[in-house]
C-alpha cells in the first residue's frame, strides 16, 4: 500500500480542521445550505432520506487491517453497526449525525483515511482491478499509477468546481476490462511500447447514469512521464467547455459526443502541447518512490499444495467454493479469495462492525494484513497460500462469507435504493432479495453459470445496471415504483450498455420476469454457453416474446 509521508498526514489533519470550522459555521448559520452543500459533498457527506450518508474513500480499493478495524469501531460508535461497500470501492455509512462528522473524519485521519472528493463535482476516487498487483494477466501493477493520479487529483485547485462529477479508472489487463474503463469519464489503459516502456491509452467520455455510453480513445499512446499533463489537458477542456446549464447534460461524455471525438482530441492535444515537458512531467525517481510502496509481500516458497489437492477431492463444498470464489494468482502456491457480501435479505455490499473485525483478523492471519473492496461490492483477500485455503474456508464458512456465488446470479450488485437513499425512485433491496430467494438452490445457480445482475434505484446508476447481463432500474411512474429491465450489458471484456426490453414492471412482477428470462436462456443455450453469449447469439426477441407474450 501507499505509505504516507509526513506531508500526506499533515494534509489530512489540516482538512479535518478546515471541515470542522466549516461545519461550525454552517451550524451557526454563517454558511447557507447551498454553500455548505458544495463543501460537505467534497467531504463525502450527503443528506439522505433519514440521515446524512458519509462516503469514505478507499483509494483503488486498498485497505489494511488497522483501517478495517477503525471502520468497525466507527460503524459501531457513530452508526448502527454496519456499513456498505459501494460500486466505487468506497465505504458508506448511512446513519451518522452531521455534528459528529468532523470527529469521524478525525478518526479516519488517524489511520490515513479520509472522505476527500468522494462526492461533489470534482475528481472522485480512482478505481482499478480489485486483483491489481496479483492478477497473472496484468502487464504491470496499475496501483502506483492510481496513486500518482490520486495525488494530482487531491485538492487540485483548478478542478474542484467542475460541471459534474468526474471518475477515472486504470486498467492493466490487455484483454479484459476489470476496471470498467470503457464507462468512465477517463479510462486509462496501461500499455507497453515495443521497447517495453510504459505508456497509456487514454479514453474519455464514457459513463453510466442518465445517458449511458462507452468512451472514445482520445490519446492513443501517452508516454508515462506525460500522464498527468495529458489528464490535466483533458480536465481543462472539460472544465472550460462542459455544459453547466443542465446537470443532466454536464458529464464529459455529453461534451465528447457533442464535439465528436476528433474535435475533442484536437482541443485536448492543443492544451497538452502547452503542458507537455513542463513541471508536471513525472520523474523516474518519484515513480520509483511510489512503486516501492507496492512491492510484493514476503511470499512463502514452501507452500505444500498436496494437502489442497486432498481437501478438494474430499470436500465438495470446499471444492465448489474454491472454483467459484478463488482465482489464480501471479505467484505459484497462492490464490486470491473473494468474500461475497451478498447474504440474502441484506443490502448487497453491507457488512457489520463485528464482521469487519473478523475480516481484519483473517487478513492478519492469512493475507499479509491486507483487504480489498471490489466494484461488485465484495471483499478480497488477495494473497492466500494454497495450503491455508481449506482452513480459511472453514472460518469463512462459519462467518457466512463463503457462499460460493461469486459472479453468479445471486451475487447481485445493488445500490442501497429507496430504503435509504433520497435520490432513489424505487427500492432495490427487496428486488435483490426476491431474486436471491427464487434462486436459492446452489446446484441450479451453478448450473446457470456466470450471470451479472445489477440493480439501481434510479438513473444515477450506482448499481451499474447498464452493464449487468440483466440490469434492473427503478423508475417512478406517477408516484409508483416500477422496474425497467435491460439485457446484454457487460462490464467484463469490453464494457457495453444493455438494451431495454420494453415496458417496465411492477415490483411484484420482477422475480417472475427474471425467471422467464432464465427459462429462455435455458431453452436456447448451447453446451457450456454462458447467458451473455446466448443473448448475443439469439438477440432480444426470443426473450421479449416470452416475457411480454
Amino acid at each position: 500500500m501507499y505509505v504516507y509521508q509526513d506531508y500526506d498526514q499533515r494534509l489530512l489533519e489540516e482538512r479535518v480542521a478546515q471541515y470542522r470550522d466549516q461545519t461550525r459555521r454552517y451550524l451557526a448559520g454563517q454558511l447557507s445550505e447551498d454553500e455548505f452543500l458544495a463543501l460537505r459533498l467534497q467531504n463525502g457527506l450527503y443528506i439522505q432520506r433519514y440521515a446524512p450518508m458519509m462516503r469514505i474513500s478507499v483509494p483503488y480499493g486498498m485497505l489494511n487491517s488497522t483501517q478495517v478495524r477503525k471502520l468497525a469501531s466507527i460503524t459501531r460508535d457513530y452508526d448502527k453497526g454496519f456499513c456498505h461497500v459501494s460500486t466505487r470501492q468506497n465505504i458508506q455509512l448511512n446513519w451518522p449525525e452531521l455534528a459528529d462528522t468532523p470527529d469521524i473524519l478525525a478518526e479516519l485521519a488517524s489511520v490515513q483515511m479520509h472522505a476527500i472528493q468522494t462526492s461533489g463535482n470534482c475528481i472522485r476516487n480512482i478505481t482499478t482491478d480489485e486483483y491489481a498487483g496479483v492478477n497473472p494477466r496484468e502487464i504491470e501493477d496499475p496501483r502506483p499509477w492510481c496513486e500518482v493520479i490520486r495525488q494530482w487529483a487531491t485538492f487540485n485547485p483548478e478542478f474542484a468546481y467542475l460541471p459534474r462529477k468526474f471518475k477515472i479508472a486504470v486498467n492493466a489487463v490487455p484483454d479484459a476490462d476489470p476496471a470498467l474503463i470503457g464507462v468512465h469519464d477517463i479510462g486509462v489503459q496501461i500499455v507497453h511500447d515495443h521497447n517495453g516502456e510504459t505508456g497509456f491509452q487514454v479514453w474519455a467520455g464514457g459513463g453510466l447514469g442518465r445517458t449511458p455510453m462507452t468512451g472514445e480513445v482520445i490519446g492513443e499512446f501517452v508516454a508515462w512521464p506525460d500522464l498527468l499533463a495529458y489528464l490535466e489537458a483533458i480536465l481543462r477542456v472539460y472544465n472550460k467547455y462542459g455544459n453547466r446549464d443542465n446537470k443532466y447534460k454536464a458529464r464529459i461524455k455529453i461534451l465528447v459526443k457533442a464535439l465528436g471525438a476528433d474535435k475533442f482530441r484536437e482541443l485536448a492535444e492543443a492544451e497538452f502541447a502547452e503542458l507537455k515537458g513542463g513541471a508536471m512531467t513525472l520523474t523516474r525517481d518519484e515513480v520509483a518512490r511510489i512503486k516501492a510502496c507496492f512491492v510484493d509481500p514476503d511470499y512463502r516458497t514452501d507452500v505444500d499444495t498436496s494437502a489442497l489437492r486432498n481437501a478438494l477431492d474430499e470436500h465438495r463444498a470446499f471444492n465448489r467454493w474454491y472454483h467459484t470464489n478463488t482465482r489464480a494468482h501471479k505467484k505459484d502456491g497462492y490464490r486470491s479469495v473473494t468474500l461475497t457480501l451478498k447474504k440474502t435479505g441484506r443490502i448487497p455490499g453491507d457488512i457489520t462492525d463485528e464482521q469487519l473485525e473478523d475480516v481484519a483478523d483473517l487478513a492478519d492471519r492469512y493475507a499479509f494484513s491486507e483487504v480489498r473492496t471490489t466494484h461488485q461490492q465484495n471483499m478480497v483477500l488477495a494473497d492466500v497460500a494454497e495450503d491455508e485455503l481449506y482452513e480459511l474456508w472453514r472460518q469463512l464458512d462459519a462467518l457466512g462469507f463463503a457462499t460460493p456465488n461469486l459472479g453468479l446470479i445471486t451475487d447481485i450488485v445493488s445500490c442501497p435504493g429507496g430504503d435509504l437513499c433520497a435520490l432513489a425512485n424505487a427500492k432495490s433491496v427487496p428486488i435483490a432479495e426476491g431474486i436471491q430467494r427464487q434462486f436459492d438452490d446452489l446446484d441450479f445457480v451453478h448450473d446457470l453459470g456466470p450471470l451479472d445482475v445489477n440493480i439501481s434505484g434510479c438513473m444515477n446508476a450506482c448499481g451499474h445496471h447498464h452493464i449487468g447481463h440483466i440490469g434492473i432500474l427503478g423508475v417512478d411512474k406517477k408516484g409508483k415504483e416500477f422496474y425497467q429491465i435491460t439485457l446484454g450489458g457487460r462490464g467484463d471484456r469490453q464494457s457495453r450498455i444493455g438494451e431495454k426490453m420494453g415496458p417496465s414492471f411492477e415490483s411484484h412482477e420482477v422475480t417472475s420476469v427474471i425467471g422467464k428470462i432464465i427459462s429462455v436462456y435455458l431453452d436456447n443455450r448451447l453446451e457450456n454457453e454462458p447467458f451473455i453469449s446466448t443473448y448475443e447469439r439469439i438477440g432480444m426477441d426470443p426473450f421479449k416474446e416470452v416475457v411480454y407474450g
Binding site: 506531508y7 487540485n156 485547485p157 483548478e158 478542478f159 468546481y161 467542475l162 513541471a279 508536471m280
Partner: protein, 167 residues
C-alpha cells in the same frame, strides 16, 4: 468605500467595475480606475488606452484569456467574474492568465466570491478578491490559508510537492 483583499491584505477598493448595462447608459468616467467588460474593451480599446487613469477588463464565464491575449501586456488588471461560486470556469482562466500568458498584473475574483473558495482561487493565480458584500471580509481572510501542504504545482510554483521537497 468597499474593501477588497489584495495580496493578503484588506485594502480600499479603488477600482470601479462597470457593467454592460451601465455602459449602455453612460460613458466611462474620465477619472478613476475602472474595470470594463471584455466586449466593451474590444470595441473601445484605443480610446481606453489613451485614458490617464488605469483600465482593467472583466471576463465572464465563456470569455477566455485567449480572447484578450494580445492586450494583456497593456493591462494592469484582469477580473474574472463568478456569477455563482459553483461555476468553476474562472479557475482555468486564472491559471491560463498566469501560467500560459505570464500575466503579472492583478487577477481579481469578483461576484460570488466566498471564504471557502479563496484558497483554491489563490492557488490558480488570483491575488485579489472582492468578497461578496454580505460576508465579513476579515473572516474571509482565513480562507486563504487552510493548508500548508499541496500535492500539485500551481500558478505560484509549478512544481509538484516531490520536486519542491527535493529542491
Amino acid at each position: 468605500m468597499a474593501k477588497v483583499i489584495v495580496n493578503g491584505e484588506i485594502v480600499e477598493n479603488t477600482w470601479q467595475r462597470l457593467t454592460s448595462e451601465e455602459l449602455d447608459q453612460q460613458d466611462v468616467p474620465a477619472e478613476g480606475a475602472v474595470i470594463v467588460p471584455l466586449a466593451y474593451w474590444l470595441a473601445h480599446r484605443d480610446a481606453l488606452l489613451e485614458r490617464a487613469a488605469p483600465v482593467g477588463v472583466c471576463l465572464e464565464p465563456g470569455e477566455e484569456p485567449a480572447d484578450l491575449a494580445a492586450d494583456l501586456p497593456a493591462l494592469p488588471l484582469v477580473a474574472v467574474n463568478f456569477p455563482a461560486f459553483k461555476d468553476g470556469r474562472g479557475y482555468s482562466y486564472a491559471r491560463e492568465l498566469r501560467t500560459r500568458y505570464g500575466f503579472e498584473g492583478e487577477v481579481r475574483a469578483v461576484g460570488d466570491v466566498l471564504q471557502d473558495q479563496l484558497f483554491y482561487m489563490h492557488r490558480v493565480g488570483f491575488n485579489a478578491f472582492e468578497v461578496r458584500a454580505d460576508r465579513d471580509i476579515e473572516e474571509a481572510l482565513n480562507g486563504l490559508r487552510p493548508f500548508s501542504v499541496t500535492y500539485q504545482g500551481d500558478a505560484h510554483d509549478e512544481r509538484p510537492i516531490y520536486r519542491r521537497q527535493s529542491a
